[in-house]
Every structure is written in structure tokens, then in C-alpha cells.
Symmetry: C2
Subunit: 458 residues, 2 copies
């Protein structure tokens, strides 16, 4: 059990709320008490040993979770670094947060919708939980035009991360999931929360009852399916976060066949699909037979800088059936109606503008800008002699530091160059020895970051 | 298991996706097949008996849910009515959807924030999952100024409904909940989804392992706590949706003491707090000792017309502890960080404007407008000789039709007056014999609705 922090520290930043068991440096600095009695003393009021406790047991699944969610932990480390070096210009190539302004064609639409909400004719209250019809139609025609996906298969969300949790609620605790290792931490953490997993096994850094599909340079970051155990739900992200690898058509065909053979459901995360430069599939539904075995989650976050605006979507084809023949989409619809109330109507107006001809061009311009950043970062690490992966079809560069701890490399780079990266091991044990470098950043910052890296690692 | 609908019907409206087992009228009309083979035939493709089914079992908790979520079902009924009477002017006093434009002081702030996102200085990506610091501070000072709630106890959400599900994920499946009967259906349905309940018991219209706290005219819509079984989590809404009743300070003091005695956690829904005209508490935290036993969920939806904009908040005091002393807020923070990514930054700019002096005045003006509507509706039903409850401190009027089925009354009013209401039994068995009439509507519509009711029930 992680120790409770003093309230004054909790208020200092969002991420300071989260303790990370393994960092004694930060915990001593932040005055984190570790013993049970002190937990009570640190609560603001009442401060006595007789503070009322409820009789409600803590959810044992929550107690299984390890440390803080990765990205708040990085934010906390960054804040601590800035306290230590108040004059340093810290540059973040860390959490994958977009930095470039949203094109005006998109924000104008959101601004217009905002103003319209002050008029009798333009006001709208509750929208359809599944999203506005026009936006669902535009997503369908833009991304799934000739793939047999229908408008009613598309559910608009407030982001892929949020829908991943809603999908876990849909599946419940009696399924077994498989996940690429390394992978985006929300897959595993949401699986733990919903009760699909066993305890965390510290020695192997894995949760019980999850199938970790190792993705390494040796297998081209595509798992060896011949040695992969059967799972009910297979989370698969391509272009991959964090490795930046993209799965080829042939590989995805194997994956779909694997799912068909095992009766599995693939949850395919295509949040970076528009970063693909070659002819790799941008959607799992490009693979024949995928509609009967796959769900796809996606997002405007990394296409249009909507990380803060919050808009995404999930495709659940009506052909996807549980073992008893019941359509998965029908249960997902129920989840969306019961646990969600639709994405913000203003964000949806922005999404619709994204998919206009001008919006698509503007999104592509921003994506190309980030891809130029990626090339600069890839060139830098390559020049320095590192083995560098990803970067071609994704905004992430995956750099190998063989034999070293990711957190040590993260700390070294932060300490010596004031650059924030992401430790690969934060994405699972398969990420150990790597760091993820994000290419979201203003050009001058990326250039400066490359200069500092060249200086330090020369 | 509910039958699957033909895809063509699914696309016709968001709510048409949901079948309602008990409505043979609508199901015959909408061509809902009921037998298993037909389920497969109705899927769009492939249409053969050999369609691929996954081996993933449907979540048994999802299968426990009854019929559709209430409000989409009402929308479906309304759509069917409009097909039948294409020339009728249907007026909705049904789903509690706000109708009046959002005051300009609020939409201007959202518009400004939208535009700012197109500038280097004004752009922001991921915000704190817990919400922007300024907004958390404004919510704290506006609604909890002298109640000892701190800014860090406040978590900004995309609406109360969404946070109710996140709270259920936090609690997990091993708790027992209590709920007012009648109550807002999301409490019970989210409890079923997360696995806290037994099967639905058709004869008593209740789920197993939920404590239904009957609220009737006889007990002043406050449950008899002396006969209420102990529960871990007590959902309590005041001013109440649907009955419109508000709990007095004395009643809430009893409730807090009941929770303290039993070690329970109260989830207090104060989404209608600003509608209170008398000196009833607007927050559970006005009751001494509540911080150690209560969570409060609230929303801008009914204050500022944000039903489509999506913004709310939840207060989890750091004094609230699980039985092992672990702070509930710490687990909730983890849920928010893992399963959510913060409310839309544009909506948050609107929320901040709501809490400015001009915004507060504007919100109060809109609330007073709806309260005038409420008075018109109360007067109408009272004049017609009905027993009418609620309405004074809430935008809902709860009208008694003793001995009649709520759905029959709903259908009668819709058929004869083209008015959409909400059947009381949709909120639980305790709502049988009542209808809920919402006062959200343009004035001329409310006046017209009152005229039609007077005409029909004279």
C-alpha cells in the first residue's frame, strides 16, 4: 500500500497526489510518511488516531495496481526537477502531449458552436450518447469509406483512453486479456481495475492472468503468435505506442486469423493511423474478416491536437458476436448510454470541421510537421550510434540502451540535459532498456533537444 | 436476452438500437425478431447461419440488465409517436433536458478558449486529469466556501453520470449498495454492470442484493432508516430526481449518522442543489461529520444548460477512509488518471465563467426561469385535482395517478396530448403510479402543455 501524502503536497500539482512506492528520493523530499499511524496523522482533519473509518473494504483490484499511472509520475519527476533547477529550460519529449496550435478552420467551428449555444435555434442539450449523426457519418466515410463499416457501428467518445475503460466494463472480470509488451499502460491498468488479472508478480514485473506478447527488435515488434496463449481480448496498437512500429498487412492478417482461430476479440488502437507513410493498414478493418473479430478505438488527439479538447471514437461492427450470438455492439451501446452521456457538443463540432476538406488538409499539415520532428530525433540518435526504432510511421522514437535501466536513462537524460523522455519500462517489462522519445514539440525545442543530446552523448 | 434489431432500424435513431422486452406493440412495429436464428439473420453480413461467433462469453452482469436505459427508451417511444402523428407538435417534458440558451457570458468564454487554442500561447494539450486548478478552486469557493472542503478534494468531470460509473469502478463488485426508490436509473444500472447485484427479480421489479429505500408521500420521500438494512454505499439524491423532494437538514443529519453508525459511504448527488429555495442543505457537507462518510457528485448540466457541453464535478474529501484506513480519494484519483483524461478544456473555460459574478447571476436567472415553469406545471396538476409533489426545490414535478400503471399514463398523455413525460416506474418500483414532469422547456411550450393537460384531464 502506498503511503498517503500530506495535503499541502497534494495541492501542489495533479501528479503529486500519486506516490510511487519505489522512489525513496522523491518520497523523502515530499515528506511521504510510510507507516500506518502516520497515514492518519497526515489527513488534514481530524488528526487524531480516532478518525472515523468507514467499514467499506478497499476494492482489492485497486490495491493490485502498482505505483502511479505512468504519465502523472513523469509529470511529478519533471516538477521535482524544476524545483531543483529553477533556471533550467526543461523540454518535454515525454508524455506524448501535442504542442502545436489547432488549425483555425477547426477552432472556428468550435467557437461558432459555442456562440450558437447562446441562441434559441443553436442551443442543444443532451445529444445522442453515441455521438452526433453527422460526425458519425463523417468518421465513417473518411476513415472506413470502403471497408463496410456503417455509421451506426461508430460510437463517438471523449477519447480512446476513456473508451478503453468502458470496453473493460463491457467485458467484465471473467475474460483474459493479451497485450503487446511493451504497451500503453491504460490497457493493463484498466484490466487490473476491472478484475481480470491476478496479483502483480514483482519478480517478473507482470500481472497474473495477462498474456504479455513480447515485441522486440528481434521479432520486428510483432509478437510470435505461435507461442502466444489464447486470450479472450487482445489489445493491439499500430502504429504502436510506445515502440513506433507499424504492423504490416501480412502481420495483421496473421493477427486476425489468430483471433478467428481462438475465438478472440481484438481491441485495435489506431490512434496514430494518420501517421502512417507507407501502405501499412490504417485500420484493422482493412483486413478481410476483421469485422467479426475486432473493435477499433481511435482519437482526434494526435491528429488535430485534441488532447485537451477530448474527442475520439470506437468502432464496434454489428458483425462482432459473443459466443452466444449476442452482438457486442448492443452491450457497448448500453454501456455508452448508462456510463457516458456523449462527448461535448463543442468538441464534436470541432471533429466535424477536422473531417472537412480544409480540416483534413490542416490536420495533415500538423502531422507532417510532427513527422519532420521525428526525423530530426531519429537522425540525432542514429548519428550518436544508438539503435533506433519506430519514428517512420509514428510520432514516437524508441531508443535502445542495452543493459541499462530505463528509469536510470530517463533520470540521466533529465539530470544532464533537462529533457523529459519516457522510460520504456513504464510500458511493461518488454520496454526495459529503452526510452520513448516523443516528437510532439515546437521545432526550436526539438532542435535544442537534439543539440543537447548530441552534446551529452557525443 | 433481448432480440437484435434489423440494422436499418438501428440507424434510424440512437435509441432505436435498444429493444425493450416488454413492448410488443413497438417491437412488432419495428420488426424485432425474437428467436435465436433470426438474431443471426438480422445481422447485416454475413447473413448465413455460419456467421463467425467469438468464443468470448457475454458479461453476465450486462445480461442482468433489464430493457433499455430509460431515457433512450422514451426517445424511441417519442420517435414512434412522431411517425404515427407527423403533424403533431410534440412537446417534451420528459427526459430533463435543458432548453434555454446558455448565457452569453458563459459561451463567450468557451468561444474565446476555442480561438485561443489556435495560438501558440493559448494552446494547451492534456490538462490535469482532475481538472484545471482555477476551476477546482472556483468550485470549492463557490459551493463549499465555509465547509472545510479543499480544492484538492474536487475532481472535475464530464458530468455526474460519468463519475457515477467511475465511482462504481472504484468500489468494485464486492460492495452492497442502497438506493432511494424511486431514483435516477444510472445508480442501479451501473451497480448491475459492475457486478454488485444479484439477478433481476421480476415479481418485485428489483435486483437482488440492492437495498431499495422506499420514498413515498407517506414518509415525505425520506426513507425509514430504522428499517433500512446496512449497505456499503448509499446513493442519495437531493433535491431528488425524480420526486423533486428535498431532504431537510434534520433528515440529512439522520442520514449522516446512519452512515457513520453502519460504516457506510454516502454518494450524494447534488445536481439540483441550486434549485433549492428554502434553507435545506445544498451540499451534504453542510452536515457535521459528513466529510468522513460522504462523496458528492454534481454538475453544471442543470445550472447552466451544460447537458450537451458536459461538465460536472465530484468531491471526495481526504477524510473519507476505507476500513483499512486507505483514503478513498487516492483510489478515485487513480481511477480518474487511468480511465479518464479530464473534461474538455473548452467546457472547463465555460465552467469557470459560470462561477464568475456575472455567470452566477446568469445561471440563477435561468434557474429562476425554469422554476417559474415548475410553478405553472404544479398549478395545472393541482387545479386538476391530482396529488402533486416536488416542484418547489427542484425542476421536477411528481404527479400521482393512484392505481394506474406509469407506462399507461405516459402512453395516454403522449397519445392524447402529444406531451412526453417520464413514467415513474422507470425510476424503480417505488415510482409506479407516478409520472415525472420536467419543467425544462420554452415558456410557450410549457403554457401550451398546461393548456393541453387542462383540456384532457378537465
Amino acid at each position: 500500500m502506498a503511503a498517503f501524502q500530506a495535503p499541502s503536497m497534494i495541492s501542489s500539482s495533479s501528479s503529486a497526489f500519486l506516490a510511487h512506492n519505489s522512489f525513496s528520493l522523491s518520497s523523502s523530499k515530499l515528506c511521504l510518511p510510510r507507516s500506518r499511524p502516520c497515514v492518519l496523522k497526515c489527513a488534514s482533519a481530524p488528526t487524531t488516531e480516532t478518525a472515523h473509518k468507514t467499514n467499506v473494504s478497499r476494492n482489492t483490484n485497486m490495491a493490485k495496481l502498482q505505483a502511479g499511472y505512468l504519465f502523472p509520475e513523469i509529470a511529478r519527476r519533471r516538477s521535482a526537477h524544476m524545483l531543483k533547477y529553477p533556471d533550467a529550460k526543461v523540454i518535454s519529449l515525454g508524455i506524448g502531449d501535442t504542442t502545436e496550435p489547432i488549425p483555425d478552420v477547426i477552432t472556428s467551428a468550435m467557437s461558432k458552436r459555442s456562440h450558437a449555444l447562446s441562441t434559441i435555434d443553436g442551443y442543444s442539450g443532451y445529444g445522442a450518447e453515441q455521438g452526433e449523426k453527422q460526425l458519425r457519418a463523417a468518421i465513417t466515410s473518411t476513415y472506413y469509406g470502403d471497408l463496410g463499416i456503417e455509421e451506426t457501428d461508430v460510437f463517438v467518445s471523449d477519447g480512446a483512453k476513456c473508451d478503453i475503460s468502458r470496453l473493460q466494463m463491457l467485458f467484465g472480470s471473467n475474460v483474459k486479456m493479451a497485450v503487446q509488451d511493451p504497451s500503453y499502460p491504460a490497457y493493463v491498468d484498466s484490466s487490473v481495475i476491472i478484475g481480470q488479472t491476478g496479483q502483480y508478480q514483482k519478480e517478473i514485473e507482470k500481472f497474473g492472468d495477462i498474456e504479455y506478447m513480447r515485441c522486440t527488435p528481434e521479432n520486428g515488434f510483432f509478437p510470435d503468435l505461435s507461442t502466444t496463449s489464447k486470450a479472450d481480448i487482445i489489445f493491439f496498437c499500430s502504429p504502436n505506442n510506445p515502440t513506433g512500429a507499424v504492423a504490416s498487412r501480412d502481420q495483421l492478417t496473421q493477427l486476425v486469423q489468430f483471433a478467428r482461430d481462438n475465438g478472440s476479440i481484438i481491441v485495435y488502437d489506431s490512434a496514430y493511423g494518420m501517421y502512417i507513410s507507407d501502405d501499412s493498414p490504417r485500420s484493422i478493418f482493412e483486413i478481410p474478416g476483421a469485422k467479426e473479430v475486432a473493435i477499433e478505438v481511435s482519437s482526434f488527439s494526435k491528429y488535430a491536437g485534441f488532447t485537451g479538447v477530448r474527442l475520439g471514437w470506437t468502432v464496434v461492427p454489428k458483425e462482432l458476436l459473443f459466443s452466444d450470438g449476442f452482438p457486442v455492439a448492443k452491450d457497448f451501446n448500453r454501456i455508452v448510454c448508462t456510463c457516458f452521456n456523449g462527448a461535448s457538443n463543442i468538441a464534436q463540432a470541432g471533429g466535424l470541421a477536422c473531417l472537412s476538406p480544409d480540416g483534413l488538409k490542416a490536420m495533415n499539415d500538423v502531422i507532417n510537421f510532427y513527422k519532420e520532428n521525428t526525423a530530426l530525433i531519429v537522425d540525432t540518435f542514429t548519428m550518436l550510434g544508438f539503435n533506433v526504432y519506430g519514428g517512420k510511421n509514428a510520432p514516437y522514437v524508441w531508443v535502445h540502451f542495452p543493459g541499462r535501466s530505463s528509469w536510470d536513462v530517463f533520470a540521466e537524460i533529465l539530470e544532464k540535459t533537462h529533457l523529459v523522455t519516457t522510460p520504456g519500462s513504464g510500458f511493461g517489462p518488454g520496454g526495459e532498456g529503452f526510452i520513448r522519445v516523443s516528437s510532439f514539440g515546437h521545432r526550436e525545442n526539438v532542435l535544442e533537444a537534439c543539440r543537447r543530446l548530441k552534446q551529452f552523448y557525443k
